[in-house]
């Protein structure tokens, strides 16, 4: 299991589009991926769960992954958050 703590810095918070980006990224990996805000754990593969966390700028999140590809998925989600959800050209 891999865990990383991040703070969201994008002004608009995690609204529909960034949520979708995170879900898409998580879906690429077979492992279980969750976002934890306070005492609520949300499935990062479900758009409704991610939206339901009501993540605003300044929110502290823990990204937790367990299973195959756990390192990669956490790494790439953290990068996405640090880049403030700006589309990367990879």
């Amino acid at each position: 299991m891999v865990e990383r703590e991040v703070i969201i810095h994008s002004d608009a918070g995690v609204h529909a589009r960034p949520a979708m980006m995170m879900v898409r990224e998580a879906m690429k990996f077979p492992c279980k991926v969750s976002l934890i805000k306070g005492d609520i754990e949300a499935d990062c593969k479900s758009i409704m769960s991610v939206l339901g966390l009501a993540i605003v700028s300044g929110t502290k999140l823990i990204i937790r992954a367990d299973g195959e590809g756990e390192n990669e998925v956490v790494e790439s989600l953290v990068r996405m958050i640090e880049n403030k959800f700006v589309m990367e050209s990879v």
Binding site: A16, D39, I40, E41, A42, D43, K45, S46, I47, M48, S49, L51, G52, A54
Partner: protein, 317 residues
């Protein structure tokens, strides 16, 4: 317990219940946090007995306290109030619409202690307040699943993402059942026997259906297709059919699922193309209702068979 809630937050979320409160002073103090479900009647404290003064609870001033305060001579009043507010009092609520005097209000304001007045009687207010605060402080957990009310039974559908929880719920809604929450279900143990499930306030009655995106169930199917909360009486796990796994064929034993230390009847339903899960779900709900009434189909059939075997033995032997 460790849980806390701001007074302002609590007052905002009383739901359908109106505590009939109005704020007299100490608005800034509304950010203070309630840490206990208990209240305090400060009668003894005002009379000078400061041992066991639970200043960190909500202070309820009833008719008795108000009358006592009124008959105090002015110099005495000042001493009593100053002593009272020398403690870090959380919040004062006066019942029966009894507004405190100016001196009390001034002191409360200077110490930033919220003072509220309710038109309700003390007993009534305390009973409603306790009920509400109990709910705030009751243990809760958020699970990834879908909660639907089927024939009056609250079914919590669990399963991995993509197994078809939302699609199943959608078909149930289409068949006239009700959606409580999709994807994120907040469950509260309201009392020792009752688990109440509701959705997140911002997601309210929205669902994500692969290929369609996000839909608003209430707008599409109408108000009759949703409800805000429902007691959870059955947990159903949807999982992809695993041919190596033994599924329950008899239903003689009731399996249980543990949520917040409460046992809820539990079924595992294997999903396979061509299996009509919503109909199985409806049947499960009806069967659960039968069980609640004390009728266990599997056991009854077994009893009948055993009776028949016995009678056969007699006629043959």
């Amino acid at each position: 317990m460790g849980k806390k809630i701001r007074i302002s937050e609590f007052l905002k979320n009383t739901g359908r219940v109106d505590l009939e409160l109005r704020l007299i002073t100490g608005k800034g103090g509304l950010v203070r946090e309630i840490e206990s479900v208990d209240i305090n009647r400060p009668g003894l404290t005002l009379a000078g007995f400061y041992d066991f003064f639970a200043y960190d609870r909500i202070q309820i001033f009833g008719l008795g306290e108000a009358a006592y305060m009124r008959q105090l001579p002015p110099h005495e009043k000042k001493r009593v109030y100053e002593k009272f507010f020398s403690y870090d009092v959380l919040c004062c609520i006066f019942t029966h619409n009894e507004e405190p005097d100016q001196l009390f209000i001034e002191l409360a304001e200077s110490k930033n202690v919220p003072v509220l007045v309710t038109t309700r009687s003390t007993t009534r207010f305390v009973s409603i307040f306790t009920h509400l605060i109990d709910e705030v402080f009751s243990p809760s957990v958020t699970l990834h699943g879908t909660l639907v009310a089927v024939y009056g039974i609250g079914i919590l559908i669990l399963g991995k993402s993509g197994v078809g929880k939302s699609e199943c719920a959608l078909e149930l809604i289409e068949r006239g059942h009700r959606l409580v929450a999709d994807d994120m279900v907040e469950i509260k143990k309201v009392d020792e026997t009752l688990l109440m499930g509701s959705g997140s306030p911002i997601l309210k009655h929205h669902m994500e259906i692969r290929g369609l995106g996000i839909i608003n169930v209430r707008d599409i199917f109408g108000i009759g297709s949703v409800r805000n909360r429902k007691r959870i009486e059955l947990v159903v796990l949807l999982e992809e059919w695993d041919s190596s796994k033994e599924y329950d064929r008899l239903g003689m034993e009731e399996m249980m699922y543990n949520i917040l230390d409460l046992e809820v009847p539990f079924l595992t339903i294997p999903v396979r193309p061509g299996r009509n899960i919503p109909i199985i779900m409806e049947t499960a709900a009806l069967n659960q209702r039968l069980k609640k009434m004390g009728v266990f189909s599997a056991r009854e059939l077994d009893d009948k068979i055993q009776d028949w075997i016995r009678s056969e033995k007699i006629t043959n032997g």
